[in-house]
Amino acid sequence: MSLVLDQNEIARSLRRIAHEIIERNRGTENVVLMGIPTRGVTLASRIADFLASIGSPVSVGTLDITMYRDDIALRPPKALVPTELPVEGIQSRDLVLVDDVLFSGRTIRAALDAIGELGRPSTVQLAVLVDRGHRELPIRADYVGKNIPTNFRETVRVQLLEVDGLDAVEVGER
């Protein structure tokens, strides 16, 4: 496995994403974040910390997409995680979805379906720490920490302090 992002670079990427969110939405008054478990939730709360230190605090939720996946018949069933809406809800908000790696785009498709059941945000935007390419659906991210060109055999491993005990993004052969 070779290191692609270290702790400082991860922090810098997330701070830049926070700035871009403010710029694109002209402030954060209407912005809410929702992280996709497990590491998307951690990243969302870190971005929220940066937003609070630069501008104004935003609220964060979590979005479990397990029951919306299209590969339920292909993989062992996953344990469910609670979905928590941001305190002010998502109706007519600018909702920024946060995930660690953007790959096929199928997770995001499932997330969009899940959001559709919860309400109607005025916009849905996507922030990811890593975009590794190989999309299978017409989905793109609005905020990307780092683009990492990969081939199919490679894996991208994101580790975060709160979950894994260290901050690192690595790429390696499967």
Binding site: A73, A79, L118
Partner: protein
Amino acid sequence: MNRHLLSVEDLTSDDALHILDTAHELSRITDGAIRKLPTLRGRTVVNLFFEDSTRTRLSFEAAAKRLSADVISFSAKGSSVSKGESLKDTAQTLEAMGAELIIIRHGSSGAAARLANSGWVGAHVINAGDGTHEHPTQALLDAYTIRSHFDKRGGNLSGIHVGIVGDILHSRVARSNALLLTKLGASVTVVAPPTLMPIGVESWPVNVSFNFDEVLPQLDAVMMLRIQSERMDESYFPSEREYSRMYGLGSNRMKLLKSGSIIMHPGPMNRGLEIASAAADDDKSVILEQVQNGVLVRMAVLYLTMGGPQLISEGVTP
């Protein structure tokens, strides 16, 4: 999780807790705005009921529909079974129509295991009651209900004392509950007249009592069983009135209940026989919660058995 759910004996306590935790997460999802999940869209579930049932069949149907599965309901009455079709032919016919999961209730003990393990069909099989053997989803929903009341969510049921009272002999609910609840750490006492106590009950992991009044004050949860007149030939007790006086939960016994305890019944109730209206409608009664929880637990079971790679025509329990 196994391909089939035939008996609580096949479940480890971790399996059972995983089902209960999944049901709890589903309750949080479906409490809010979401009424329906797309999880099993396009997949077909068959209710194959050879015995009469209202709540179990409807509960499975509601659970499957909330997961967007297509549900075909089959009851033996008025069907080709009354023309003499065998279980094998019926099940194969249903599978040929696209059934991926068969929920079966049958009057013969072992019918669900026969269907799952004989190689007749490749579908998943869930036992919804087979003769006097088992009714695993009922035991799971009862465990879920007990757990939610004693704030043991996430943990097991250790320290909880559950009494199962009534027709233990004919009751698959009693059998499944006794096995599951003790597996989860609860202590269980079965209470019945000697004629309605099964032979070999000593080998169950439970305490046995013939004196309801003595046991009742110790119980955290008291589970009243239905007197199953369809399996009775009237000679198990002298009269309904005597049974009700000795083993029924009437208003006179309500004062013996521990504070904070709950009253359960798998339904349908014979009001005035094993349970009086005063008990069934009391604040301690969680009988309607059991019905609600039944849908959640069955959703969890459907999701966990139908999720994962399909091994069509394997037909053998791992």
